[in-house]
Every structure is written in structure tokens, then in C-alpha cells.
Symmetry: C2
Subunit: 257 residues, 2 copies
């Protein structure tokens, strides 16, 4: 299994605090030694850092922890390999251009007997996760060759996720830089931080941050993760089959399949 990290915010926000917590689970407080990756949107651009090495030992991970990249949408992942060997091509998150935007995807779980249909988007590595991402995009592009609003293609996306959910375990995060979509198959938690901000204490390492000093009263920041990252805050558990769509830190649509 792997761990997911997602962020949606209404102002460019740095994810260093949450990332620092997650990284500990990549070989130190958790067993996810088989790589990590994180994608930050900057406008329509996507900045992707990945490493097939354990995050707790990765030089690139140290850079990301030192370097406060600010973004409104972030997708991160640490990996404990089950399908596909440990190499860069098998390291989440995966990225493809669709409709002139960078789409970014990370998956936690596994799909038994998944036989992807060959389409336009094709996996480069050999994980079931990347194959499922390509299948999602192929289904969307087949249904909508030209760009449409997220509300319009959402039913196709949700129905593909539900199909994968019935074939195995399919917790996922997906974004095109504008919105962040989450599907909970077994495990996904979320927290929305807004004023009044207080201190937060990481579970996995002795780090406390006081968000009040780093925020303005209008900031809204939602973090999604496989497991709660802080010890002193109340995280909301999503239900199996629950999906949600986030924009600017707020949940704009959600449903239960």
C-alpha cells in the first residue's frame, strides 16, 4: 500500500509542513520505501519531483522540504511497491496532457485482474496505477474529444472510479490544476484549515507549526491524506465510495456511490 497527500487552497500555500510529515513514513516511521513523488501546480504548469528511492533518504526530498514552493493544488505520494518494480517510470504521481492541461494522478491500492483497453494514452511503466490513469483519460477523451467543464465530465470520471473500486482498492487523487478530485475506496481523510488558525503538531516527527503566523484571515486550505498527519487536529474520515471535488480549498461537489 501507499500513502496519498493532496492539497487545495485559495492562495498559493506551501505544503512543506505536511510533506515533512509524510516523508517520515517513507522508510522511517512507515514502510513506504519504494519511492515518492510530489506535483505542484504553478498556473497551468506542473512541477514534478520524484525519486524511486525512500523519501527519508532522498536528496530531492530534502530539497523539497527546504524549498517552500507555493501552490494552490498539490498531489503527493509515497510508495510501497506491490505491482511494478521500483524505478522512476513506476513512481507516482503520473502526468499526462489532456485538452491542453497537465493532468496529475496518484493512486493508493491495487487492482486485481485489471485488463486495460489499449487507447491513446498508454502507460510508460508497468504499474496498475498508471494503466488505470491512462484508462480514465481514455474514457474521458472518448466521451469528450473537446474540453468541457468539470461538472459535465464528472459522471464519467466517477463511474470509472466506481468500476475500479469494485475491482480492487482505488483511493486516488486527480487534478488538472484547476480542481482537485478525490475518490475514497477504503481510506482517505481530510482537514480544512481556516481562520482562526492554530498550531498543528505532526504525528510522525517532532515538528509543530503555528499556521496563524503564516496565514491571512481569508486563507482556506484543505489537506487530504491516507492517514491523519497531525496529532492535535480533527481529521474527517471519508467513506468507501465517497468522491469529492475541491477548488480553492472548498469542497464544491461531493457524492456517495
Amino acid at each position: 500500500m501507499c500513502e496519498l497527500l493532496g492539497m487545495s487552497a485559495n492562495v498559493p500555500t506551501d505544503i512543506v509542513f505536511s510533506f515533512t510529515g509524510l516523508m517520515q513514513r517513507g522508510g522511517r516511521t512507515g514502510p513506504h520505501r519504494d519511492g515518492w513523488g510530489i506535483g505542484f501546480y504553478e498556473g497551468r504548469g506542473l512541477r514534478l519531483f520524484q525519486d524511486p528511492r525512500a523519501s527519508s533518504e532522498s536528496e530531492v526530498a530534502q530539497l523539497v522540504q527546504r524549498y517552500p514552493i507555493k501552490s494552490e493544488v498539490v498531489i503527493g505520494h509515497i510508495r510501497q511497491a506491490n505491482v511494478g518494480r521500483v524505478c522512476l517510470a513506476n513512481t507516482h504521481p503520473f502526468m499526462r496532457e489532456m485538452w491542453g492541461r497537465n493532468w496529475c494522478f496518484a493512486h493508493n491500492g491495487q487492482l486485481a485482474d485489471f485488463q486495460p483497453v489499449q487507447g491513446f494514452y498508454r502507460p510508460v511503466g508497468d504499474t496498475d496505477s498508471e494503466a488505470a490513469f491512462c484508462e480514465l483519460l481514455n474514457q474521458l477523451r472518448t466521451a469528450f474529444p473537446e474540453p468541457v467543464a468539470v461538472q459535465q465530465f464528472l459522471p464519467v470520471l466517477v463511474s470509472a472510479c466506481v468500476h475500479f473500486h469494485h475491482q480492487g482498492v482505488f483511493n486516488c487523487l486527480l487534478s488538472d490544476g484547476d480542481w482537485l478530485f478525490a475518490f475514497c475506496s477504503t481510506k482517505l481523510v481530510q482537514i480544512t484549515r481556516r481562520a482562526p488558525f492554530g498550531p498543528a503538531h505532526l504525528k510522525d516527527v517532532d515538528v509543530i507549526v503555528d499556521f496563524q503566523g503564516q496565514t491571512t484571515p481569508n486563507d482556506v486550505v484543505t489537506v487530504l491524506a491516507t492517514e491523519p498527519l497531525t496529532a492535535n487536529e480533527q481529521w474527517t474520515l471519508q467513506q468507501p465510495g465517497e468522491w469529492s471535488l475541491w477548488r480553492s480549498g472548498e469542497c464544491v461537489l461531493r457524492g456517495q456511490s
Copy 2:
């Protein structure tokens, strides 16, 4: 105008030396202040570092200079913007998946009155370079919906490059991780280093490296660049209209259009 850097080698080789020289031109010894990027293939995976800031001031560039990533194919670029504002989405190299491989592209030059045909691959940013890359891929994918050997699609690729060359300035580097393709429209130089290796002295900064201590007698490493990067070696000038295909450091095919 911009500057290109490419490498093809028969063993995983670090590009730190050449990259260090190129980075100086991003704001220190050269005017290319509008971003830089470099893509390293690791197997079928592509590791991309990019920054819309000047390379001589970029923290990510410093990481890349400290961190000897070894690769058999590398494509790098520093940018002086002419078309498209300075932002991550407009920063080379660009990347797309085609036929289940990561394709990477960088361009030096500009295309006057270029009207791309809308196809499957679409630009995310607003540079003529990314639009030309999408057009190249769309032409290849239309001609060959399924993967074929590079020798088979090369005529389509060369003909598209010649077309761009006639529309403006189109020096480019392109790779799918297996081979490295170069097209010289106005300016491109190359050097192939093999035993006996000697010292090399960067033009742009006082750095000397003795390749003998870092290589084995069988190593073959070709570097392509817009301008020679070293002062004490003989670089070969490519001719306008010349194209070349490199694999494992050797030129496997070349032609003059």
C-alpha cells in the same frame, strides 16, 4: 534566442560539467534569464527539473549541479523569451507520452506566422515551441497510430522539421529516451568524447574537469549545444538543414535536407 544542451552516452553519465557551463549563460555570462530546464532519462522514466527563474539564481539549478544524476540521454535548455510570457508552463523542455514512452523536446529559435493545426496533443502554455512539438507528435501519431521503429518514422519527423526550418528558426532536440534526434536550422555544435580522454576547460566559468578520471576506456559521450561549452576542445559545427540521430553516444543516422 535560447540555448540547447543535449547528451547521448553509452553508459550512464553525469552532465554536471556541461550543465554548470550552460547555467552561467542563464543571467551571468549570457542573457538567457527567462528560465531553464533539463530532462534526464532513467530507463523509460524522465526526470524533469525546470524553473522559470534565471538559472544562475535558481535553487533547483544548484541542486542539479550538486547532484550527479547519471543518464544516457539528457536534454537541457535555457530560455530568453520571445514568444510566450515567463512562467513554468512556457519553460522547456516539454514532455508528452506517445506510444507508451516519454518524449522530451527543446527548441531554439522562433516560428513566424505559425498556425498549428488542432490535434490530439495540445500546448499547455503559449510558446510557438510547445505548439511545434505538439504538431510534430500529431503528425507522427497520425502517420503511425501504433509504435514503429525510429528508422520508419524518421522521414515524417525530418520533413516536419524542414517545414518549420522554412518558417523561421528551428534548432531542436528530441528524444524518447532510446535515441536523441537533433535538427540544426542555424546553430548547433557537437563533440564526441572517447578514449583517450583528456581535460576540458569550461568557457563560461573557471572549471576544469579531467574526464580520464571519471571514465572507462569504452565510454562514448556526445554533447550537443548551441555554442561550444569548452575552450580547449574542437567542436563540430552542424550545417543548416542537417539532422542527426544519436544512440549510445554514436551518430547512427544523419542527413542534410
